[in-house]
Amino acid sequence: MIPITLNHFLILSAILFALGIFGIATRKNAIMILMSIELILNSANINFVAFSKFNGFNIDGQVAALFVIILAAAEVAIALAIILNIYQNYKHIDVDEIKNLKE
């Protein structure tokens, strides 16, 4: 067995990233797309922390990951507010059939 190196973490994040892209492309439900975006953000975070550790403990990577988590929280709050509004107007959240924000 190969010892755990930087590449292991990078490939793990690549798997997560590809799955997230696949989820965004194939789903029509807005919340499903939101969850796939979370997967992608997590994969980017794994990269940040892995580079931070394997670069002689450079803390900058962990700070960047922290800000990504903060932005993800803000993003989910706004996105869910918009999705709730869309649901009140359309009674569904199928992104293929949503054409305008206001009737």
């Binding site: 799955l19 969850m35 550790k53 700070v63 988590i69 932005l71 709050a77 869910l80």
Partner: protein, 167 residues
């Protein structure tokens, strides 16, 4: 096989399987609960990478905040009388096409990762990273830190305003 390898492969398996559960499951609620395991797995990977504070932040914000918000969103946007909350599949061609795109993306990423000659420095062992993180946040990144605080405030006020019923 050392203990670190066993731990890494366990968490990697958890992450990959539950992420596939998120992407492929047909019911929204199952996808949300799969996402829970993905977040826990990523927190474990953080611990493995010596990022203890980040792991706690991951569990508190992602599991305690974002996931709860997402589950609230699912419950508020589906009718209770629905037989099942389907996650909405697109057609077969789009499915195959996006699988192809994702696979190509994955191959290109892995190829880049494997062929790049990363400069890896030896890592000194540290008990905790909280002191380093706090020092960086309050010296080098202090402006970004305040901007993030203001952004969060504005985002939450905006979210409450947008979601308000009956304007």
């Amino acid at each position: 096989m050392s203990i670190i390898e066993i731990v890494f492969y366990c968490f990697a398996l958890i992450i990959v399987v539950s992420a596939m559960g998120v992407v492929f499951s047909h019911k929204l609620m199952y996808a949300a609960f799969s996402l829970l395991f993905t977040f826990f797995g990523v927190a474990g990977i953080y611990v493995l990478l010596n990022a203890d504070f980040l792991a706690v932040v991951q569990i508190m914000i992602y599991v305690g905040g974002i996931l709860v918000l997402i589950i609230f969103g699912i419950m508020l946007t589906t009718k209770v009388t629905d037989v099942e909350n389907i996650s909405g599949n697109t057609g077969k061609w789009i499915y195959a096409g996006s699988a192809l795109v994702a696979a190509i993306l994955f191959v290109v990423l892995v190829y880049t990762f494997n062929t790049t000659n990363w400069t890896v420095y030896s890592t000194p062992y540290r008990d905790t990273t909280i002191d380093l993180l706090g020092g960086a946040l309050l010296t080098k990144y202090v402006l970004t830190f305040f901007m993030a605080a203001v952004l969060l405030l504005i985002a939450f006020i905006g979210a409450a305003f947008i979601a308000k019923k009956g304007k």
